[in-house]
Symmetry: C2
Subunit: 193 residues, 2 copies
């Protein structure tokens, strides 16, 4: 499985945002929606071996995590608006145990620490950050999880949680990219290995 | 200048589409909007050395081309909806000569042939297609234009127009990607050269 975990620092944890204002009132949910697109979409299909965790840390009930699970995924379209509707539907549910909101979409009231703890022991966890090793040092694995942040950096506390478990840090070069672009670049690199 | 030319085969050439339905009623305009995002956005800035041509071939008045010009660009945001509004504003103007609809956004009633003919003589034109040379053979140039299609392939007639001028064809590998993802991959590759 190829996994992408993206932290949305200001993204709301309730379903009361407008689909017309996801870049403004919805705490840059638009960034996370483009990450879902980049993770899953191929030209005329979606990647079944991908899983995406959106870790939402905005008001009113942080943290909550929406999980997109490739093998079961249905009703996923490439545009931001329709994926925003899937996230909004997921946020209507509130649950300490994971609840399914639509085929392949799950929600649970957990944060980054619990998401990372839930990964299989054999999963290689990779932090994507400007000061990491070159992309060329990335070796393909059977089970890999890439951790990224939205338009804000991970906090020191989040970095500490991640570094307890991360197998390495990879950089995409001297230029700093949007999270969704990073996912596209990583997917392409792994496709070419 | 780094240029991206994207052909939207069904994208409307009038401003009467809804911003709430760009993936449906607007002939997959959403694909082209994500291309604009991929071409321009860096983590906390936009690329000033980029130019994007959206060649629109849908009803009612094809072809029309909306041009995004990096050095003058303002009011460009990464979400699909706000870029869709810029395209809609551009399509309100109808002009045989190029008209400016907002800072850095221009519209003209021309198609792929005229767009390619308008490129400077020194510009290297590259066709991005599955059966091209490996991405590693791409050499950075001062002035490059990459031609891509939306969710449909270029027609034989469009390919013929392009091949009269193209300096080469580059492939991103055996996997077929969305146009916006191709742009992200090319931008990253050029950034690393």
């Amino acid at each position: 499985m190829r996994r992408f975990i993206i932290v949305g620092h200001k993204t709301p944890t309730a379903a009361d945002f407008k689909l017309d204002d996801m870049a403004g009132g919805a705490g840059r949910l638009d960034v996370l929606l483009r990450c879902v697109n980049s993770a899953f979409f191929l030209s005329h299909s979606i990647r079944k071996d991908v899983e995406v965790y959106l870790v939402l840390q905005g008001p009113p009930h942080p943290p909550r995590t929406v999980r997109f699970y490739g093998p079961e995924m249905r009703y996923l379209n490439p545009d931001e608006r329709s994926t925003g509707a899937l996230v909004r539907n997921a946020l209507l549910k509130q649950s300490k145990v994971e609840a399914r909101s639509s085929p392949g979409v799950y929600v649970r009231d957990i944060g980054l620490r619990e998401v990372i703890a839930s990964l299989p022991a054999e999963c290689q966890v990779v932090y994507l950050k400007e000061d990491g090793l070159p992309l060329e040092s990335l070796v393909k694995g059977e089970d890999m999880a890439f951790v990224l942040s939205d338009h804000m950096d991970l906090s020191d506390a989040e970095e500490a949680v991640l570094k307890e478990r991360a197998n390495g840090t990879i950089s995409l070069g001297p230029t700093s990219y949007h999270a969704d672009h990073c996912i596209t670049i990583v997917n392409h690199r792994l496709d070419m290995l």
